[in-house]
């Protein structure tokens, strides 16, 4: 079953067209990567899904057209977005950030279970639960951003460049935790990542964007075998 499908999606920032026909599909419980250079439109693709930019084309989620919805309406449908730059709420504590993540939920008991799960998944956050998010390290903030998105119990997680600005070992442990989250929860994921090596530890398939359109797509194994992918994104 396809959970999310983008068909020839375009997007504009004001008069500037940034996406020029992006198509992809994310199956239920699947994980798909979006690779590409800076400025290729990876972040904009996620923002288009969330309704944060003006878009054209068709975006179908769970059988309904969601193009043109506001970000809060998209969130209500079960899509959680970890934005570029993490979007953690600096003056709020770690616990408050997680409570904001669970804002739409009414099932208090399950929320507190999920909170415990997050703190077990990211033990660093457990020690910092009452400190303000701005006092966390970059890696911890990224963990908090992922945990906050999970607290909404989404069906689909949009993850924007979780490795950005992190030391390689930190990035690796963040991705390990996300992989465990995927196994434990079965949440479908659409992942933007510059570091293709990291992305391939998590995704089943990926598309490659160049100047706002798809140029390649395939399963992780297929893509890893391609010379141009190796040269451009895998460092050899």
């Amino acid at each position: 079953m396809t959970l999310l499908e983008l068909d020839n999606v375009t997007a504009w920032y004001g008069p500037v067209q940034v996406l020029d026909g992006v198509s992809l599909s994310v199956p239920d419980n699947g994980a798909v990567g979006i690779l590409g250079a800076n400025g290729a439109g990876k972040t904009t693709t996620l923002r288009a899904i969330s309704g944060a930019v003006r878009t054209g084309g068709r975006i179908t989620y769970d059988g309904r057209d969601i193009r043109g919805l506001q970000p809060e309406q998209v969130a209500k449908l079960g899509i959680a977005h970890v934005p570029e730059g993490r979007g953690t709420l600096g003056q709020l504590t770690v616990r408050e950030n997680l409570r904001v993540g669970a804002y739409l939920r009414k099932d208090r008991k399950a929320v507190s279970e999920d909170l415990d799960y997050c703190l077990e998944l990211f033990p660093n956050l457990k020690d910092r639960i009452s400190s303000s998010a701005s006092a966390l390290s970059g890696g911890e903030q990224q963990m908090l951003a992922v945990a906050r998105a999970f607290m909404a119990r989404p069906r689909l997680l949009l993850l924007d460049e979780a490795s950005l600005g992190l030391a390689p070992s930190t990035a690796k442990s963040v991705y390990e935790a996300i992989r465990r989250l995927r196994v434990d929860s079965g949440i479908a994921m659409l992942i933007v990542e510059q570091n293709a090596n990291l992305a391939f530890t998590l995704v089943d398939s990926a598309i490659v964007l160049e100047t706002g359109r798809n140029v390649l797509s395939g399963t992780s194994a297929e893509l890893k075998g391609m010379d141009e992918i190796r040269r451009a994104y895998l460092g050899g």
Binding site: E72, V100, L104
Partner: protein, 293 residues
């Protein structure tokens, strides 16, 4: 000693009016990141609303409650119809819009009700009580206690409720808050509405003492701005403490520092402001905003 206690209590009452307005400024700033320069003018309109309802024969307390409700709606409407267009743009533009509103609201009040002073009944009896030998007015005590009550309610709202958490989250980062499903637009309206409701309280507290005129809140707004800057823009408690300190110190300085006297006492908060900003730029209770890459 009697004079001292009297001055302190009256200073607290004076400071409480600044505090109510300062709390409204903090509330708008907490939920939208803006300073609303028209907060005082909106409070004046609120006081006129109450004045009109008293004219209909309502008892003052009901009239003031009614004006609080109407003011909440007015604040929400101003945010929805006007400020909304400038959100997400240059914050300076929105600030200029609020300065424009200050003139507009003052003008509307003058146009409808004229510029003559009008009597506004006090909520509290005009009696005095004896505290440690000092004669203190019941109105001063009542005014101060009202603000203490409001401050406690606000702290509970912001720290203890889901609505308060959502308001704070939207203030910090609206687009990120929307990704968690927070209804950003509606929360901003609520923030402005609450601020206007608080302004209505300030108006009702100040009108009996100064009598009702369109420019009644102008000086109070200046003091309230000083208070939020001294207390920290993101701290309701800080704003109230700072507003009280200003009220009390201003009163004390007028009597005990001969060269200041009543003529120069308006300079007092600004001297305090200067010293505080010099020593602690984020305000006494404010948290420093840390930018991290």
């Amino acid at each position: 000693m009697d004079t001292f206690i009297q001055l302190v209590v009256d200073g607290l009452a004076l400071g409480s009016v600044y505090a109510a307005l300062a709390l409204a400024l903090v509330l708008v700033n907490q939920s939208t990141g803006l300073i609303n320069f028209s907060q005082g003018a909106m409070a004046v309109l609120s006081a006129y609303f109450a004045y009109v309802m008293i004219g209909w024969g309502l008892p003052p307390i009901l009239a003031i409650l009614g004006s609080i409700v109407v003011s909440f709606l007015l604040g929400a409407i101003v945010e929805r119809l006007l400020i909304r267009r400038f959100e997400g743009g240059d914050p300076d533009t929105a600030v200029v819009v609020t300065i424009g509103l200050l003139t507009l609201f003052t003008g509307i009040a003058g146009w409808i009700w004229g510029y003559n002073n009008r009597q506004f009944p006090s909520l509290f009896p005009l009696e005095t009580v004896n505290i440690f030998g000092a004669v203190v007015s019941v109105r001063s005590i009542g005014t101060t206690l009202t603000i203490v009550g409001i401050m406690i309610v606000l702290q509970l709202l912001f720290q203890g409720t889901k609505l308060g958490l959502a308001l704070r989250a939207v203030a910090i980062n609206p687009s990120s808050a929307a990704y968690s499903g927070l209804p950003v637009g509606r929360l901003l309206m609520v923030g402005w509405g609450l601020a206007a409701a608080l302004g209505a309280v300030a108006g009702a507290l100040v009108a009996p003492a100064l009598t009702l005129t369109p420019g009644m809140m102008d000086t109070a707004l200046v003091y309230a701005l000083a208070a939020v800057i001294i207390g920290g823009l993101n701290s309701p408690l800080g704003a109230v403490v700072a507003a009280w300190s200003i009220g009390v110190l201003e009163n004390l300085a007028a009597v005990y520092v001969p060269f200041i006297g009543y003529d120069l006492k308006i300079a007092v908060p600004f001297i305090i402001l200067f010293v505080v900003l010099f020593l602690r730029p984020q305000g006494l209770f404010g948290r420093k905003v840390v930018v991290r890459v």
